[in-house]
């Protein structure tokens, strides 16, 4: 019991952030029209590329060769996630944007 309470107190700020973020995520998403499901999923996919920060931190403190290699790989993969994710999302949304102009022409 004491362990749990200690744990909770030690991490209380993060636990707050987690719980509130969960509700925020639900709230932010809930009114999405189906038309945007794919770009939204893709955009969210890019955002979890934030894992790259962790990769940079480990790589920044890596000492052994193994850690360097793994860290290097982690940063590349994280960057792929971020860059690929945002670029693909932008490409998808780009197609949506052209529409209104076309419409006024007709």
């Amino acid at each position: 019991m004491q362990e749990i309470l200690t744990y909770f107190f030690e991490y209380r700020q993060m636990i707050f952030v987690v719980v509130l973020s969960v509700f925020l995520g639900i709230e932010v998403i809930s009114n999405v029209p189906a038309i945007l499901h794919t770009p939204l999923m893709s955009g969210a996919n890019a955002i979890h590329g934030v894992v790259i920060i962790g990769a940079i931190i480990v790589m920044g403190h890596a000492e052994s060769t193994l850690a360097m290699v793994l860290g290097f790989l982690a940063v590349i993969l994280g960057t792929l996630n971020v860059v690929g994710g945002f670029v693909v999302t932008d490409r998808m949304l780009d197609m949506f944007k052209k529409k209104p102009k076309k419409e006024t022409k007709n």
Binding site: V28, M41, I56, K99
Partner: protein, 484 residues
Amino acid sequence: MDKIITITENISFTMTDSILELSYLIASVLFIVGLKMLSNPESARRGNTYAAIGMVLAIITTILFHKQDGQSIGNIGYILVAIVIGTIVGWTIAMKVKMTAMPQLVSLFNGMGGASAALISLMEFPHISAALVAEHGMMNGHVLAILLGLVIGSVSFAGSMIAFGKLDGRIGDIRSPLMRYINIGLLVIVVGFIVYIMTLGSVKIDEITYLIYILLAIALIYGIAFVMPIGGADMPVVISLLNSFTGVAAAMGGFLYNNQAMLTGGILVGSAGTILTVLMCNAMNRSLLNVIIGAFGGGGAAMEHEEGNIREITLSDAAVLLNYSQKVVIVPGYGLAVAQAQHICHDLDKLLESKGVEVKYAIHPVAGRMPGHMNVLLAEADVPYEKLIESEHINPDLPNTDVVVVIGANDVVNPAAQDDPSSPIYGMPIVNARAAKNIIVMKRGMGKGYAAIENYLFFNDKTRMLFGNAKDTLQALVGEIKEL
């Protein structure tokens, strides 16, 4: 109760620490605002840009200002090289890939993020502080975050790679009732192994480092086995689910490094992704658990139907039928995407409109391989927004529709979802194509849909089949209509 347990607050900090935290706050806000804006067609593109700016900000300030135990980020040269490589490769892939391959691509990038999270855990495990273990044993939040980050990241990676392979047509399904038990067994092993590591008590970390590699291997196997039996209609759900997995894995990194940007970003995606997954499951009337346990389709005693005859229609008859209709509804599916037929489909629609035919598209939320797949595809071909009608809104209109043209869609128009309680898709909302006066189905052959269920819409008296690749068929059809 009032005994002081530990003193955890460390209040010494520098200016740069402060700037770093502030930049994380700004990044988190940008993620949230970006995600919110992504859910509105008007602001979606800006939203994506905002989130990207937040990401760049967080990355730059981390490299410049992050300190761990007073040490700044080292190996900056290598880090920059890795970022440049990742940027060039990611950008090139993202720009070059065809729109139809989009679902695979999201799955691929998702896998990269998962792998990155798993690697972080892999490297952090040997560095668990001896003092922490001496005091609390292995049962503490730090170890839990590492192990969960590893497992969730690996499952997400392996699963995404399999999903990628399946969508790309490189990997087939393994459909066996046995897979269900194998999966449950693997899940039990993974959880059991985590519990085992955490209950080791006070141990020397370097003596048990090998355990983390065993856990990695099991998690990877589970990730593969997890997606292997899942096919067809469930693929969008799986990608969305794996997407939220990676979010949670990233959040574990936030726990490890006490990093708010990773935490908010990761959890936000985790919860948003889960909600999206649940929305999709609802759209197919299936529980998430059912999807996770897998083994969809193939099984289940399909009701015996009076197998009527398949009736084909010639191109010229189809052209005449369409030309003299008043209302036509097109139901696109994956076949349209595969054949890259979205442009020619739009040509057909414009041609018919010029002849006074009202043309609309019925968009089923899970048609294709991703939610909204059809929207993206048709948007690429410049089909105006207003013509894309969601299935629930178009269904009441269908009885007054002269012709429904089903292009490469199957499960989303299968009446078994309404009639056959034994069908695996029973209860799934569908585009009620059979309500229309005439139905033309364009299809490559008589193969079953991705969910491997017989579709007796094809045997309906009002249905006529046009076999062949969607693009070629549409092209020929447009030609025929022009001749009229």
